[in-house]
């Protein structure tokens, strides 16, 4: 299954590894922040509604 | 010429602080703004002086007519009192600093570097700057901070002289300036209310 990368294994694997990690990290970070901000905003809005 | 403010709303830090303010200031008149700490007097004066745009409403006089004096006096510590004043005199194209020096009893301090002045002496220098601007509308934010009784009287006299020549003055203060002829306006009732409309664009303001 694993393709034969020969002597360049490190270069190719690390490239893919770093790229995929960074891509995922950014996605996770974005989702995390989105969720947090959404929750915080909902809380503020709810408080506002409650206060009238 | 007349300063007319119509239905002005002002904001600070992206938040409306005062709204719906209107007043009119005729030549020779002074208006004293009062209100508790944090109500928005400084913000209002900066808006009138044209340093920040109003949220809505308008200031019916060009900013070119205003001389603004804030808490910070814009005094350069390494320049002497006379040098500080003549700089502003040149910028405003008026030239003569003698009336300003005399008006605030700065003659003794004339050649002293401004950094070596006491708090009240600095303030006097800051106020003397108004006299060299030659502008008709004075917009003053707590002008008498740190001044002693004599100096407050000096300031009152300067304002009266300015009004007598058809000038105007808009002054925010917490203490009594002894300017009995001036109108007084409390800005407290104009405090901005939280908006009701649930519109996003609105809330961004």
């Amino acid at each position: 299954m694993m393709p034969e990368l020969g002597k360049y294994a490190f270069a190719v694997l690390s490239s893919y590894g770093v790229a995929i990690t960074l891509i995922t990290v950014l996605v996770l970070g974005t989702l995390w922040r989105s969720r947090r901000v959404k929750a915080a905003l909902d809380e503020v809005e709810a408080r506002r509604k409650a206060d009238g | 010429m007349e300063l007319e403010v119509r239905n002005l709303s002002v904001s600070r830090g992206g938040v409306p602080v005062l709204e719906g303010l209107s007043f009119r200031l005729a030549p020779g008149r002074a208006l004293i703004l009062r209100g508790p700490n944090g109500i928005g007097k400084t913000t209002l004066l900066r808006t009138v002086a044209g340093l920040q745009p109003p949220l809505s409403g308008e200031v019916g006089l060009d900013r070119e007519a205003m001389a603004y004096a804030a808490h910070a006096d814009g005094i350069k510590a390494t320049l002497t009192v006379a040098e500080n004043l003549s700089f502003w005199a040149q910028v405003f194209g008026t030239g003569d600093i003698t009336p300003a020096i005399d008006g605030f009893a700065l003659d003794e301090l004339r050649n002293r570097p401004a950094g070596g002045l006491s708090a009240g002496q600095k303030r006097r220098l800051g106020l003397a700057r108004l006299l060299v601007t030659g502008r008709p509308v004075w917009v003053l934010d707590e002008p008498t901070v740190s001044l002693d009784v004599d100096a407050v009287a000096m300031f009152g006299a300067a304002v009266r002289r300015h009004l007598a020549t058809g000038g105007m003055a808009l002054i925010a203060t917490h203490i009594d300036l002894g300017l009995d002829e001036a109108e007084v306006m409390d800005v407290g009732p104009f405090k901005a209310k939280p908006p009701k409309v649930e519109d996003f664009d609105e809330v961004f303001l």
Binding site: G6, A9, S15, A19, I23, V37, A40, L41 | G13, G14
Partner: protein, 262 residues
């Protein structure tokens, strides 16, 4: 803008498409509603394209006779490098829209895009460096393209730092927009300056020259196109989510500020 100048005829629908209608999306609420509707589509296709493209590229492409297995890096390096540049261009456009028409969403979109662009730049730099080590025998060279790219990275950093440093949102939007504008001019200027200063090691554009004497083999071309599409969609999906987040954060700051006001 008058209505007829804004209307163009499109072949596919054969009915006038009113460009003015586009400005409606400048309303934050409308923007958020619309994006939340289209977002699933972008997310799914982005994920699909990236997965297909990268798996295809990694597992099912032959080794190059000169570059060996390192050609596989191309499927990441080329799309990210392109995106890094294109995202700056997008930020330039949205910044101009903010400066001219003062639509908040536009400024916030630029803010939302910058970290993505910076990350693309990092990936392109990293993959380029690891590719360069076997190919050119060095991690880094002061080649025109590389150097100009590094300067672009610095612009991204400065741009983000400026956003972070200013408290008032409108002020920040204004200042960063001007920085983006001036930065673009200088980025282009740098590109030429650097070219003049040193002749390059990095290859020039090849993918755009399909049909010329040394075209990229279809073996590589197809997965590359899929990858590029994937990265574009990935960017679109992310920037939409992030813009929504920025809108919410902005609204929250405004609400909190008013709350404190009492």
């Amino acid at each position: 803008m008058t209505a007829d100048r804004g209307a163009i005829r499109t072949a596919s629908w054969d009915k006038p498409l009113n460009l003015n209608a586009l400005w409606e999306y400048a309303n934050p609420l409308k923007f958020m509603r619309t994006t939340e509707r289209v977002l699933p589509f972008f997310t799914v296709t982005a994920f699909a394209c990236l997965a297909v493209g990268l798996i295809w590229g990694f597992f099912f492409t032959p080794d190059d006779f000169r570059q060996g297995s390192t050609v596989k890096i191309m499927f990441i390096h080329v799309p990210t490098a392109m995106m890094a540049i294109n995202i700056w261009a997008m930020m330039l456009v949205t910044s101009l829209v903010w400066l001219v028409r003062r639509h908040h969403v536009s400024a916030l979109a630029a803010r939302a895009a910058a970290p993505i662009g910076a990350m693309m730049t990092v990936i392109a730099l990293f993959t380029g460096a690891t590719w360069g080590q076997p190919m050119w025998g060095t991690w880094w060279a002061w080649d025109p393209r590389l150097t100009a790219f590094l300067i672009l990275f610095l612009f991204y950093l400065g741009y983000m730092a400026l956003w972070a440093a200013i408290e008032n949102d409108d002020t920040a939007a204004d200042l960063t927009s001007v920085l983006c504008l001036v930065g673009s001019v200088f980025a282009i200027l740098s590109r030429y300056a650097v070219k003049f200063w040193n002749q390059g090691l990095h290859q020039d554009s090849t993918i755009m020259k399909v049909g010329e004497k040394d075209p990229l083999a279809a073996d590589y071309y197809l997965p590359l196109v899929v990858c590029i599409t994937g990265f574009v969609l990935y960017f679109v999906a992310l920037v939409l989510i992030r813009t929504n987040t920025e809108i919410r954060a902005r609204r929250m700051r405004a609400l909190l500020a008013r709350e404190r006001q009492g």
